[in-house]
Symmetry: C2
Subunit: 154 residues, 2 copies
């Protein structure tokens, strides 16, 4: 059946971010839904953020659109110019190529959960608040191009 049994997919909280940029993500637990359900045209993740956790460092994609819908709880969506609260049912979209970085922070006292969809082609992107970028082949580099050791996106 096409209904996805979330309980059958082990949530993971790994990230390839080099220290110390991984610290705020310790309470981000995600399940990748596309591999187990046979989808190849776009990626889908079910994400739970524990209180205090971030979805990512504030970032943007050069070649991939992103879409998010909040399922439970609430989180602060932060961008260059503002912060807003996303609640259950709220939707947000980030077209590729915009360099206004975004992320979600759970500043509440309970878990929040959302679905995030990504499509397009991985051609790299950047981070707004830290000296880091990611390459088309998934490596993390400084903004001057030097690598962060062997750190790669999971």
């Amino acid at each position: 059946m096409p209904r996805i049994n979330l309980d059958s997919i082990e949530p993971v909280n790994r990230t390839g971010y080099p220290t110390p940029f991984n610290r705020e993500l310790a309470g981000r637990w995600y399940r990748r839904l596309a591999p187990t359900s046979g989808l190849t045209d776009f990626g889908v993740s079910h994400v739970v953020l524990k209180p205090g956790s971030w979805s990512s460092q504030r970032h943007w994609h050069e070649g991939e659109d992103e879409f998010l819908v909040m399922l439970e709880g609430e989180a602060v969506l932060a961008e260059d110019d503002c912060e807003i609260l996303l609640k259950a049912g709220d939707c947000a979209a980030w077209p590729k190529g915009s360099t206004n970085g975004h992320h979600l922070r759970n500043e509440s006292e309970r878990d929040c959960a959302f679905i995030v969809v990504g499509g397009g082609t991985s051609t790299g992107g950047g981070y707004s608040d830290i000296d880091m970028m990611f390459t088309a082949d998934g490596r993390y580099i400084h903004k001057d191009g030097t690598p962060y050791g062997n750190a790669t996106r999971p």
Copy 2:
């Protein structure tokens, strides 16, 4: 801001289905979210089904993956071999090419709402329960290839 103001997008309930296949869709109200938010890598719709309404005739896509997450209320998901109830938070996925047609029917007494994502390339598809198919260029035809007048997908 990337938060999508659903209230600013007029919901529509049009369908290109020829009569009588459009009747069960009279209570399907959808908002296309990608055009207003600049997404091009995949399509996203926010859909409300009034009690008694269907999401579509039971169908499948040759070249497009589909993903759905239920936001509110509940609906019956029907396929060739079974029916199951989808409730808020439930996710479902339909990889392209599977000819096991699907649709949702709101058999409850209150509205349900969901997000549906579609990606890939429109190469046509079919309907499981009626003498109809749709072509890559969006026309509706009988299974013997003869057209249904000028009916096209909206």
